[in-house]
Symmetry: C2
């Protein structure tokens, strides 16, 4: 019997707003549950009980993706919460491969799943001090090592930066895994702002701060700094 996956939302096609495949047309599957409790989590509804997840099989999810996206997608992003909590995603990735659909997953690197080996683009997003979480470095080392061993696919690190302390953490991560492309992005510290234009100005100001800091730092020459495209376009709206 296949293991069900708790799903909170399935939507798209929309663009991937962050990281290594920023701008890519993609569908989103958002899973419920997280082993972290980041202070600034922008998807707290995946774990705080405010929204109820629906247990779905891989086939249920495929059907819903096709119904929602029609023929208008060839890429699916699985996000959370922490999708790596769910063993059932293995079957979903198999479905994608059968259909020639490219896949991307984002996870903080605290749990391993063998199905990660079959995902095209894996983003590992360790959480900096401002999250109030503590990185288990030996777990992360093992995670990164297993991922590096695969033959196909890309992986990259992404760190959300709120303050100077987070930047120090980012350099520590970069120094530890120097060959893995590192993306930095500013954190959205204004999750309650319902005025997209003001949120946009605020986030662009913070983005400019982060760009300035990275430009000035010889330790961050190979880093890429991206804005959060979704927040620029749609503010804090869910499901776009």
């Amino acid at each position: 019997m296949s293991s069900k996956i708790p799903v909170l939302e399935i939507f798209g096609p929309t663009i991937q707003g962050e990281g290594m495949v920023a701008g890519q047309k993609t569908m989103f599957v958002r899973t419920g549950g997280c082993d972290y409790r980041c202070a600034w989590c922008d998807s707290a509804f995946t774990w705080d009980g405010s929204q109820k997840a629906t247990p779905m099989t891989a086939d249920d999810i495929m059907a819903k993706l096709e119904q929602t996206g029609g023929g208008r997608f060839s890429h699916v992003t699985i996000s959370g919460g922490n999708p790596a909590l769910h063993v059932g995603i293995a079957e979903l990735i198999e479905r994608f491969q059968e259909k020639g659909i490219a896949s991307a997953v984002e996870t903080q690197g605290s749990f391993w799943q063998d199905w990660l080996l079959n995902v095209d683009d894996v983003t590992i997003s360790p959480k900096p001090p401002s999250s109030e979480m503590t990185t288990d470095w030996s777990r992360l080392d093992t995670f990164m090592m297993r991922l590096s061993a695969r033959r196909d696919g890309n992986h990259n690190l992404k760190i959300v930066i709120f303050d100077e302390e987070d930047l120090v953490y980012a350099k520590q991560v970069h120094g530890r895994y120097p060959d893995v492309p590192l993306y930095l992005q500013v954190g959205n510290d204004d999750l309650d702002n319902q005025d997209p234009a003001r949120l946009r100005d605020h986030l662009l100001e913070k983005y400019e701060w982060l760009v300035d800091r990275v430009m000035a730092d010889p330790e961050l020459n190979r880093v890429r700094v991206l804005p959060q495209i979704h927040a620029l376009l749609w503010g804090n709206k869910q499901g776009v």
Copy 2:
């Protein structure tokens, strides 16, 4: 004797605002001269006589890069104008390779240079109908074929979109070179706007239009749509 390169500006480090290495910390070298005269060229000062280029050797350029960027870069973008007009860039790319500096070049694909084989990231940006230029498809075919033959490095297509006709052109290009990643971005049709906040709102509105069009189109499933990060941050200012 080494062949000199006409240079209009050398600046950075700043972020790459467009395309496949968007967000990457990079220095810019902008060369003078273009074989095109795009109606909406945002770098017309490289060819309209309004600014004077300085003839520089590869060593001159390296010295200036190091003086300007200090130790704060490991990536250089050569843009124009059309950098592929200049045979002397071969030597500059050699210098980069000696020093472990990664390189990126953007060109419309109308002229070939063998040094393109040694550039890490080549962006080919054919010009759509709104530019009032006509694509010489057989030249572009040859250019793409030569580029595909190289062993290392990435290349991608980037098309600036102003209107529906440009989108039709983008699909034609995508159909012709289906295996080359295609990036679309909205054109900046407001080059005289000196108010960065208003320009930003205008460009994000246009970006949202392009995102909507791409999301709706099954022929554009594998395309990536990016905003122009520089214009969002700094408006129409030159040299940032």
